[in-house]
Subunit: 506 residues, 2 copies
């Protein structure tokens, strides 16, 4: 099994490194020995053991030249806030390559932050029967209905979008302001607009609420997911695991569909998409609930997850908790419910968000350790893992990878200069990890290319090379929830794409 | 020997941790086992093995209460730029305790950034024969002379300070502007004043030049160092190792003294200070040269260092290179000269600045590894060490500590939020390190208390405790250049002060 092999390799490398130290003896520095140590360090990195074909070596040499140019730029993009860096990133030749590169799988993306807000406004809000109201705290809410919906508290009266647009002098301005309500992206100085984690999380939650009435309308729900898959596919991603709330969806007459309907909609849309695009591998769902709920609701959710796992074994990947970790309940609070699947013999897997925090020594700061104790398959973020050496060692020795989302951590104000992101260290140590995008529509990023850019350039600088990219892409398949036989198929599909990419970009 | 013992202890702890992992087996989480892992992680930290007396436990409980209050503050000081955080820090009860706490030794402080600029202006520039000129790029230069000095290029004509003051309507404004020229400290938004590393390093070098003519005037030189020792002593520091350029000093008639005179002035001033304050332990000097010089000048400097080491064995601690690392020459460039002491049988020690950079994979980024290969006794900063797992392991296994200067790294723009400082990770791993202040006068910090606050609150949060502080203080003596017998004496002196501190602050 892949995970097993990986875990052994890591231990072996660590032992080798150790014995080399002991042999060193710290005498007068011998250039050959120095060279050996430098190589040893390079081989420790993610990608350090990847052997490159002659063609790959050519591409790698080209990449190295581009990286030297990138490091010489006056503004080094990974040091800047992504909102300021994006135009610089998008104009970089490295970004151009990363877009074309088969990046494997996106393993940490949320259901309603997959598709850019522009599509929601320019496509969805132009559909008939779309009502809007404006909240008193300057957000918006939408609802599709055959008749005027009941008024919302703290919100203006509902207006039909088509009537509102007809009465508006500048429709473009209106649409842009609606878009702005559904994303954190801003042209203004993000440090000024979002001075603190509290402020940025509040805006984040508001933007989420603004999209809610659009994306939970049953016909939109399917289209939205289809559009999400399309955007990933266009960014050369072949597989995705979606953290999904699986909400009830609603029709124009107010009738609603169950969670099973939602799950089936994911399954059907995916099957159709793969049929239309046979070189796309598919999608699986990680059912998520908000970490703010109480124990009783949580227990019900775990039981539903167990049932979904049994009913949709092909599509259901596992279970997770979402929402701001710092203000939510710690995993340990839910320990009884989290023990149910094992007790009931369910094969439900966990994919816990944990360590998306800079509060040190608090209850929430124990989430990574607890996620590992509950045998999580991966850790979402693990931003605080470096400060927990025991949890870190557990993650490594058991091959539990981190889902690293650089742009998300920066926009949500865990770190400013991405060279200081803990994953820069983890990459240098060859820790198991994958790169993902979390909530691309919220951050104005697209697919995985922006996050890959930050990881490739920001986490490694001149130490990064084609091997790093190759291992990151392969990790995303190796650490997916796919069973071994499907992993092999996905890896073969990726390898074909990769070979083509290398040949076409020499 | 202390260093030896330390190194063994570290290895042993690592092995223990490893076997505990292997015994774990990742079954259904048992609360007792979880508790054990949490304790294991806590014991891995700096201070994690320190046993506290009943009295110390009382103080620790009080500290823990204060830390909870500190974490609940709306603005968490370590997350802010020190220039904004200082008033918050100074008003914190934790800071009050840290000031009174015997902090041991300051092992990384530079000769001409020890004493606050206010003292330089309000004391030194009021002395007779003090000339000033204003450079065209808005800095100042000073010179003491019995007659008007030769004009400087790119500078206004020289004016006597007392005549200038007599002709100035608002002397306070003048003095404040002079002070502002000798420090990076500003009341304005530091992010705006210093938008980049280039800008802040330029100001840093300018401020350094502004003080040069004052502090190299022979009588001022002695007074300055005496004042520096006084300020450390008042902050409850008992010993200091000063990185010193050992410049020629000059008299009013333009005559100059040799490097030996300068060294002797340090030695004499220290002896006098210790005689007057018997509970101060002393000072030693690390001779430094700028890393921008060429190989031939550098070789001469190393030879001088070898001679100084032979002539002043009591005062001379070793040798180092200073100046901005990113734009300077890498250590490896000077490898031949750096090999001279060992080849000549000199016992000259190295205390290299290394890894004060965020350029990854460059030549300069190899400095930490090379410092270790040249058997450095400590590493100045080592900010980039985490990204170099092999160098990190060498540092740990050989007991080579980092001199961590949190405020310096923040003001010089390596990291914004100090919770993301790599030393937060190193503290959690029990890596050998000490806390120091680098250039307190430049940053507006005072003694070690501000940096200790950042390390205690910012690097550890609720995970920090009295044991952390105790080990940090003891580390500063354990990792000093003092020979074992003097280390023991210094430690005994510190222990007496520590016991008194604990008793008086229950
Ligand atoms: Zn997430
Ligand atoms: Zn320094």
């Amino acid at each position: 099994m892949e995970l097993q092999r990986r875990s052994v390799a890591v231990t072996c490398a660590a032992t080798c490194v150790l014995s080399c130290f002991l042999a060193l003896g710290m005498s007068y520095p011998d250039p050959t020995q120095r060279e050996k140590l430098i190589k040893l360090e390079a081989s420790t990195r993610i990608g350090g053991h990847v052997e490159l074909s002659p063609e790959e070596q050519l591409l790698d040499a080209n990449l190295s030249k581009l990286m030297h140019e990138e490091m010489a730029r006056e503004d080094f993009p990974p040091a800047l806030h992504f909102f300021k860096a994006r135009p610089l990133i998008r104009s970089s030749p490295i970004y151009g390559l990363l877009q074309k590169m088969p990046k494997g799988a996106a393993l940490h993306v949320h259901d309603f932050a997959m598709v850019d807000a522009e599509w929601l406004v320019r496509n969805v809000t132009y559909r008939p029967h779309c009502y809007v109201c404006f909240t008193y705290d300057r957000s918006v809410r939408f609802y599709f209905s055959s008749w005027p919906p009941k008024p919302l508290p703290h919100c203006s009266p509902w207006a039909l979008m088509e009537q509102l647009r007809a009465a508006t002098a500048n429709v473009t301005d209106l649409d842009n302001s609606l878009i702005a309500n559904m994303t954190l992206w801003t042209q203004e100085d993000p440090e000024v607009v979002y001075p603190s984690q509290d402020v940025v999380w509040k805006s984040f939650e508001q933007a989420f609420m603004a999209t809610w009435g659009l994306v939970t309308h049953a016909p939109v729900f399917r289209d939205y997911f289809h559009e999400g898959l399309s955007q990933l596919y266009r960014d050369n991603i072949l597989y995705v695991e979606v953290r999904a709330l699986l909400p009830e969806t609603y029709e124009l007459d107010g009738s609603t569909h169950t969670r099973e309907w939602t799950m089936k909609a994911y399954q059907d849309t995916t099957r159709q998409f793969v049929e239309d695009n046979p070189d796309f591998f598919g999608a699986r769902i990680i059912f998520t609930v908000n970490r703010g709920i109480n124990r009783s609701l949580f227990t019900t959710a775990v039981q539903e997850a167990i049932k979904l796992q049994a009913d949709f074994p092909e599509t259901m990947a596992g279970f997770d908790l979402v929402g701001r970790e710092d203000t939510g309940r710690p995993l340990w609070y839910f320990r009884e419910a989290l023990s149910l699947p094992a007790a009931q013999g369910s094969n439900l897997s966990y994919f816990f968000h944990a360590g998306e925090t800079d509060l040190q020594g608090t209850e929430v700061d124990q989430n990574m350790m607890d996620a590992l104790l509950f045998n999580t398959s991966r850790i979402g973020h693990g931003f605080a893992l470096l400060r927990h050496p025991v949890a870190k060692r557990l993650s490594r020795m058991n091959g539990v990878p981190l889902e690293v989302c650089p742009i998300s951590n920066q926009v949500l104000k865990l770190v400013k200069d991405l060279r200081n992101h803990p994953a820069a260290v983890l990459m240098s140590e060859g820790h198991p990890l994958v790169i993902s995008s979390d909530d691309p529509s919220m951050f104005g990023s697209s697919g995985l290319s922006d996050d890959f850019y930050e990881a490739f350039v920001g986490f490694g600088g001149l130490s990064s090379n084609l091997g790093s990219l190759k291992e990151l892409a392969m990790n995303s398949i190796r650490y997916s929830s796919l069973p071994p036989n499907l992993q092999e198929k996905a890896m073969a599909l990726w390898q074909t794409k990769w070979n083509k990419f290398v040949t076409e970009n020499l």
